[in-house]
Symmetry: C2
Subunit: 167 residues, 2 copies
């Protein structure tokens, strides 16, 4: 009886939320698609303060075959260096997004083309793979990435490897 009541009340609550657009999956998907498109542009233009604002303060970003970037400051610092090495062209293509309350989880496919500049400590490279990302709607109403897990499908030499000096 308790379970039935719980389910009933939660269903009413969630239905009301969805009607108000708070957790409507299609609306959240559109927000994520839009933020992904902007983030691609920010990486390519080297606008790392804008990139960093797409991630939560307590972010864990897990670059393939590299140590994790823990916290927004660490992420900003890593990428502020990295954009001095050359141009980072990412493509994020969301395949599926599930939404529950103030959380969303995205699965997608990515490609990366890094074009080395004169100061790059490594050659140009390309990578591709799939990712799972946890998003959270934060107190300012903005959705941000909390955990970012891109998994390269490339065997080894083509995968992103960051020089340890950058960390």
């Amino acid at each position: 009886m308790r379970l039935s009541l719980c389910g009933f009340v939660a269903t009413i609550g969630l239905a009301a939320c969805q009607a108000s657009g708070r957790s409507d999956p299609a609306a959240v998907r559109a927000i994520i698609d839009s933020l992904n498109a902007k983030t691609e542009q920010w990486y390519a233009a080297g606008h790392i303060d804008s990139v960093a604002q797409n991630f939560a303060q307590d972010v864990w970003q897990l670059p393939p075959n590299s140590p994790p970037l823990v916290g927004r400051d660490s992420l900003r610092s890593f990428w502020a260096n990295a954009v001095r090495w050359g141009r980072w062209d990412f493509d994020f293509d969301a395949a599926d997004v599930v939404v529950a309350d103030s959380l969303a989880v995205e699965r997608g496919r990515y490609t990366l083309k890094f074009t080395a500049g004169p100061e790059a400590p490594m050659p140009s490279l390309e990578d591709e793979g799939n990712y799972v990302a946890l998003w959270r709607r934060e107190s300012d109403g903005r959705w941000r990435v909390v955990w970012d897990a891109p998994v390269s499908v490339r065997p080894a030499s083509g995968a992103l490897t960051a020089p340890s000096a950058s960390r």
Copy 2:
């Protein structure tokens, strides 16, 4: 007003659910820890039917530096081959679990030690990294992994690479 009502009703509903244990984060975390421990044993013992039952029918498992395993049948088929090659000792250590409704998202650290047997097409290897996994409470009440994204921290040669013949 609509938002306030929605939040109020949803809060009552979720509080009732948590009181009943349906989406209590600590309870879900305990379930996930228990399933991780069992899955480690199943991989090591080569009990792949049991491993497969820990994953949803529509699973995407993303082995590092390898093509994705899409669907439970594909996952079962891959691992049924792989356990003939040797022993797979995984360790999954959940660092954080967030829960919303019938979804849970886990971030953790993994290690892998593969000990090659006589039929292995590749040498013994070790890997380590971090992962993000999406869990879903399914209609039978059981929590299963839907998306599994382990990201190796090893630069390249030590990463898991599956021979293409196995797919």
